[in-house]
């Protein structure tokens, strides 16, 4: 194979494409470009409407508001890449949060130990989803629909449905709500930093390791992956377990963000995390997408909320705009998938 030959062939192929096909081709290689485009447009539009949108303090605030959904969307991305879906995201997060908070409430248990137990519980919950999906071979939609109810019920029974305020909790559990940066300026919390680190770590694993390749392979064609020697069951099990760990860390971020552990803190978590993934260009059919797209997707959802509310637009219109974006994103995905050489 000579490089000149293949570039010449590529050149030839390129010349035969219409501009639209060329866009299709580029989006096929970089599925996060279209959400990035939308994010930039939204940013420019909102800043024009209200210059306060782009001020350092509102940018910092927006990142803080995005953090929890962005974190949950990491786990959701992993699972959607394997052609699954996780409806129990919010339930696992709330369960983990209520358990770590209740254990440590009013000096009941060492904060570190309570955090560890909360995280392990989230890991166990993710693992349970994984076992049900792999061993019983049930569709992820059904499994997580079931565990959604189970985990929610346990969380409510355990906590008695009441909130625990930050001043009843040890410093460690509240620590991710603390931040740095000037008051009234660009201020970030440790929670935002933690979520950023998770994006880097999982993004690295997905794009640079064999495990990441296998996640894509299993999602794209599970039987072909199995015949090629990929340990498909193990890949799926690790995906659901890692997702559980991510939800546990998100629970910790959430306590800091809301200044309390509240059973109904994130009622929209399931839909928002799925929305971020889909708007971010990851295919619901599995095997296609990039984690950076999910981050962009989460930012789009949040900037719509934030920008439209700055502009005084009614909440229902924000929900409506998000819905339109989801439909557009899925249509674009369908179109990209028809790409030809």
């Amino acid at each position: 194979m000579t490089a000149t030959q293949s570039t010449a062939a590529a050149e030839f192929a390129r010349r035969q494409q219409s501009p639209l096909q060329r866009i299709q081709h580029v989006l096929h290689g970089y599925p996060w470009l279209s959400p990035l485009f939308i994010l930039v447009i939204a940013f420019i539009a909102f800043t024009t409407l209200n210059p306060r949108f782009a001020s350092p303090s509102s940018m910092g605030l927006m990142l803080q508001q995005t953090a929890v959904v962005a974190a949950l969307a990491i786990g959701q991305t992993l699972i959607i890449l394997t052609a699954g879906i996780d409806l129990s995201v919010g339930a696992i997060t709330v369960l983990s949060m209520m358990v770590m908070a209740s254990l440590a409430q009013d000096g009941g248990m060492n904060g570190f130990l309570a955090l560890l137990i909360g995280l392990l519980l989230a890991v166990a919950a993710g693992y349970l989803n994984g076992v049900l999906v792999t061993r019983l071979n049930l569709p992820p939609f059904i499994v997580t629909l079931g565990t959604l109810s189970i985990f929610t019920a346990i969380a409510l029974l355990y906590s008695g449905g009441s909130s625990i305020q930050a001043d009843h909790l040890p410093g460690l559990l509240n620590s991710l709500g603390e931040g740095f940066g000037p008051r009234g300026g660009f201020r970030l919390t440790w929670g935002v930093v933690a979520v950023g680190v998770m994006y880097l770590a999982v993004g690295f694993a997905l794009s640079q390791t064999a495990w990441g390749r296998h996640v894509y392979a299993v999602g794209d064609d599970r039987e072909a992956a199995r015949l090629s020697g990929v340990a498909t069951q193990r890949v799926l099990l690790t995906v659901y377990t890692v997702a559980g760990l991510i939800y546990g860390i998100a629970a910790w971020v959430l306590i800091g963000r809301s200044g309390a552990a509240t059973p109904n803190a994130i009622v929209d978590a399931n839909l928002n995390s799925i929305t971020a993934v889909v708007i971010g260009g990851t295919s619901l059919f599995g095997g296609r997408g990039r984690l950076v797209g999910t981050l962009i997707g989460a930012l789009i959802v949040q900037s719509l909320q934030f920008g439209l509310s700055l502009g005084g637009v009614d909440q229902q219109f924000r929900v409506l705009a998000t819905g339109v974006l989801v439909i557009i994103a899925v249509s674009v995905d369908q179109w990209i998938r028809k790409v030809k050489a």
């Binding site: 194979m1 296998h214 392979a217 794209d220 015949l227 090629s228 095997g287 790409v339 050489a341």
Partner: protein
């Protein structure tokens, strides 16, 4: 894949590493394989006895025996539904037979997953190809045996050696004389059916250590590419590998096969050779119009 197998593929000669004692087996199997083809041509490299596989009430395999010797091409022919694919899936662990015994180099083996047979030196091109459309060609060639970067990047961070794998994949494809695939970074879903087949065949040929099994590898290919695959099969045979070739193309079979295993209605109708029987006889046995005396 272990570090020393990486270094073997780096050296341009595929034959040099450890030809210390046995002069008759200086070659590695595939380009990337470290497994040595069996030296002893008189004993089967792969043999199966009494393989049975049922799917509910459908009998896919009804007690089939098979012997494959090193350095031979064993063709498997039979009508649609005769159990050819089921047979080779049982041999590779893609399906687990209900009963029967298999030996590799004389040792009893129980393959429970495709990975088991691959680890033992058996490479397979399945009829449904088993390539991942979303991944590029190099990733597909190295799927489930990815190579990591040297040093802590690889051992601690488990980072893939993407560049190295791409280069070695390109070289392997070139060495195999496959011209239909060029750019190793191209996604498989943008390839034609014939090119996808070339990817699957290259993977098997490059990594095959003892046995290469091909289930209708020329079905989607044109005349020229079909002949290239046949040429590759001869090369692998000459390196001492055992080859199982399933094909509906009788001229191909009579051209390349040393022996021909005929499947009929889930059972073994008989084993013939291209010199003992004509193509017409073969088809007659295959369809039940003629019985083989045994």
């Amino acid at each position: 894949m272990s570090a020393d197998s990486v270094s073997t593929t780096d050296s341009t000669t595929v034959s040099s590493t450890d030809s210390t004692t046995d002069e008759t087996t200086p070659h590695h199997g595939g380009i990337f394989s470290t497994a040595q083809p069996s030296a002893d041509k008189t004993h089967p490299v792969l043999s199966a006895r009494g393989l049975v596989k049922t799917f509910g009430r459908v009998v896919g395999l009804d007690g089939v025996d098979l012997d494959l010797y090193p350095g031979e091409v064993l063709a498997v022919i039979g009508d649609n539904g005769a159990g050819k694919s089921t047979l080779i899936k049982c041999l590779t662990g893609a399906l687990v037979p209900d009963s029967g015994e298999m030996r590799l180099d004389g040792e009893v083996v129980h393959f429970k997953r495709p990975q088991d047979s691959r680890d033992a030196g058996i490479e397979t091109v399945y009829q449904q190809l088993a390539v991942i459309p979303a991944l590029d060609i190099a990733s597909n060639l190295y799927l489930a045996r990815e190579e990591r970067r040297p040093g802590p990047l690889g051992s601690v961070l488990r980072m893939l050696d993407k560049k190295g794998m791409k280069e070695r994949a390109g070289k392997a494809v070139q060495d195999l004389g496959i011209q239909t695939i060029q750019n190793m970074g191209q996604a498989v879903e943008t390839l034609s059916g014939g090119q996808r087949q070339a990817v699957a065949v290259s993977r098997a040929a490059a990594f095959g250590g003892k046995v290469v099994i091909l289930d209708e590898p020329t079905a989607a290919l044109g005349v020229k590419e079909g002949n290239q695959v046949l040429e590759m099969i001869r090369q692998l045979r000459d390196r001492g590998l055992g080859i199982i070739l399933i094909s509906h193309n009788m001229p191909h079979v009579w051209d390349v096969a040393d022996r021909i295993h005929i499947q009929r209605l889930g059972g073994l109708a008989g084993v013939i050779t291209p010199s003992s029987h004509s193509m017409t006889d073969g088809v007659a046995i295959m369809t039940g119009a003629m019985k083989l005396e045994s």
